[in-house]
Symmetry: C2
Subunit: 391 residues, 2 copies
């Protein structure tokens, strides 16, 4: 059930965005003021504002202060409705669903989370997500009847498949808006990359599993099979522990939450965070950081990124992993200024790449799903992996 | 000395390309026939053909067979001049300069090579290149006075620098045509990728040094510092031999020609090729192939390419390196159909990536330099690393 939008609709959407951007900047304006600033004809503008009013995206504001001189008629002014949800981002994660709702100004106006067991089936995850969203609307007073789009992140690196179709069908049917579906970690990469100017970014997430995303030349990358950015199954320990993928010694057997807790001798992330400075625990975390660093360093030497971002629950609980990984990447970097091949020379700027912790928290996937909906991001140019894409 | 071309010139170039494409397809046509097929006005067409005739790119063909019925005047027909060089590709490599000249139909009409010592200075390399090109013109009867563009590949991963400016200045001054300069291995990657439909390709070259190039999402990638695709300094042997970059155990300390000859106990690539099936030599080559495979496998797990191409003198002399590397990549691949993350499934097509030897020979760099000039390649969309780019 692919959503297709014609040229006319795209032009209409662009006009709509222009009107919303003007109201975002100026707050409250009359139709005449919007017409002057947008360059749109009164007829076109009237259609656009009528539709936005009908969808609840904007509201009429009438005040005495704006009463026209010499006229008894109040000037009808228009403004964004801060209580109308425009975009919904959902992250159907490993052990919880997260949702964020943004308004026409792209500000988050509601968000929530519902935990579930990691063994929860996909239909049950979808039901939990829809219940969470229903609750957001009722309890936080958000109007969800005029959504412009819904982005849903799901676990798993690979595109297509019936699972994604089921997700799309369920959200479209219940919420009556176009739905896009993609890997939730890639959405998180998009959200993190959107916070920087860097055009070449590696993002890795250390959580129940390990995933990631690549921004190359200012674009989110898919890979030939939709699995670009999957750092989890890069060999990290020769002949290491068996991995659920069938190989041995993958990074996921070392730096996912389960093996990290086991090697540190603790039972939960909270316990890990509380005891992370004890010598035995610290040494285990350093070894994990070194393994993450080796995998990232090899990728960085090939991709030459400006920035490496490490996110996920595990790195939040144990920041030393980020520090150690940064150290390994720095050591493996070809020394700046070193003339490796005889005819060139790296310019003498900052050492590259910078390695740092993610700035966003656990709602990064839901935020990225919303960012993907905006479609304004040049990061998504040429990106075709969004199931049910409206562009 | 950057070469800039305005909008008018770009439109003119597009018209010119259309006329050349029509002549390429139909062989010989009258001006009226070209006008009908191109949709260009007679005035515009007259300017274009006048200029192409003046530059020697096309010629007038007059035959009795085309004599107009009822008229004594022979019809003047136009055709591509197969002896006029349009594009020049030069590869100022480690130990030789290669050049290829293509005509308006993008066919190679002349090529040559001049060896020099690896210690040759850049000015001496440039002089050797210009002498080679001069010889091509005189000895092979090629008209080089109407070149549309010159692409020059140089060693070294890093962009900018005075070396590139010197190269550009020397070729522009002598040959009076726009010059672009980039890394010669990246040009080779462009040439190899241009021979396939794959949109995600890793290219590695095993030669005196190790270089490579990445095609990601149908685009040649630069990296933040212009060093994307540099596989040579990825760690391949923990604590291995010192590398000229200052680190230890880089792939270049294992799989460049020098160390490969040393570990195989031979003195030249010819001797290596002759003795490659002897057990001791074969075992050494297999270990080299395994190291190359480990580095490529890690990159492939992160980038998810469709195709990996292995080129360079060493892999041509020892094809077992390609076979072994392909084996390692196949083993490290996440098994197709394996549901690694719970909600997705890799589609059940061919195992990916395919690993194979390069199809082009030692002239790959020069061919890629010409391919970059054509500018028709979507592979170059968004690619800004070509010094002196005319686009």
């Amino acid at each position: 059930m692919s959503v297709t939008v014609g040229v006319h609709a795209l032009v209409r959407r662009a006009h709509e965005e222009r009107v919303l951007a003007i109201l975002r900047e100026h707050g409250t304006l009359s139709r005449a003021q919007i017409a002057a600033r947008s360059g749109l004809s009164r007829t076109t503008l009237s259609e656009i504002t009528g539709d936005l009013l009908g969808r609840g995206a904007i509201v009429k504001v009438t005040t005495d202060a704006h009463r026209r001189a010499g006229s008894g008629r109040p000037a009808e002014l228009l403004a964004l409705d801060p209580r109308s949800g425009q975009f919904l981002g959902v992250d159907l994660g490993h052990s919880r669903v997260r949702a964020v709702v943004t308004d026409a100004a792209h500000e988050i106006i509601a968000s929530g989370v519902t935990p579930y067991a990691a063994t929860t089936s996909l239909p049950a995850r979808i039901r939990a997500g829809l219940a969470l969203i229903d609750g957001l609307g009722r309890e936080q007073g958000i109007n969800l009847s005029a959504l412009q789009g819904i982005g849903v992140g799901v676990t798993g690196p690979y595109p297509a498949g019936t699972a994604r179709a089921d997700v799309r069908a369920a959200f479209t049917e219940t919420l009556r808006a176009p739905v896009i579906v993609d890997n939730n970690t890639r959405f998180a990469a998009l959200a993190e990359a959107g916070m920087t100017d860097a055009r070449d970014v590696l993002y890795i997430r250390l959580s129940a599993g390990i995933g990631g995303g690549l921004i190359v030349g200012g674009r989110l990358v898919e890979g030939a099979g939709g699995a670009a950015g999957e750092f989890g199954h890069v060999p990290a320990v020769p002949g290491g522990a068996p991995c659920r993928c069938g190989k041995r010694g993958c990074l996921e057997t070392v730096a996912a939450i389960g093996p990290a807790l086991a090697v540190a001798g603790v039972h939960s992330l909270d316990e890990l965070a509380a005891r992370r400075d004890e010598p035995g625990v610290a040494a285990a975390l350093e070894r994990i950081g070194d393994a993450v660093g080796r995998v990232l360093a090899a990728a960085a030497l090939v991709l030459d990124p400006e920035l490496i971002v490490i996110g996920g629950d595990l790195s939040r609980a144990a920041p030393v992993i980020v520090d150690r990984a940064a150290g390994v990447v720095a050591v493996e970097r070809v020394p700046p200024g070193h003339d490796v091949a005889g005819a060139g020379r790296r310019d003498g700027g900052e050492p590259r790449p910078v390695v740092r912790a993610a700035r966003l928290g656990d709602d990064d996937g839901a935020r990225g799903a919303v960012a993907a909906l905006y479609r304004q991001s040049p990061l998504l140019a040429g990106y075709s992996n969004l199931d049910g894409s409206a562009a």
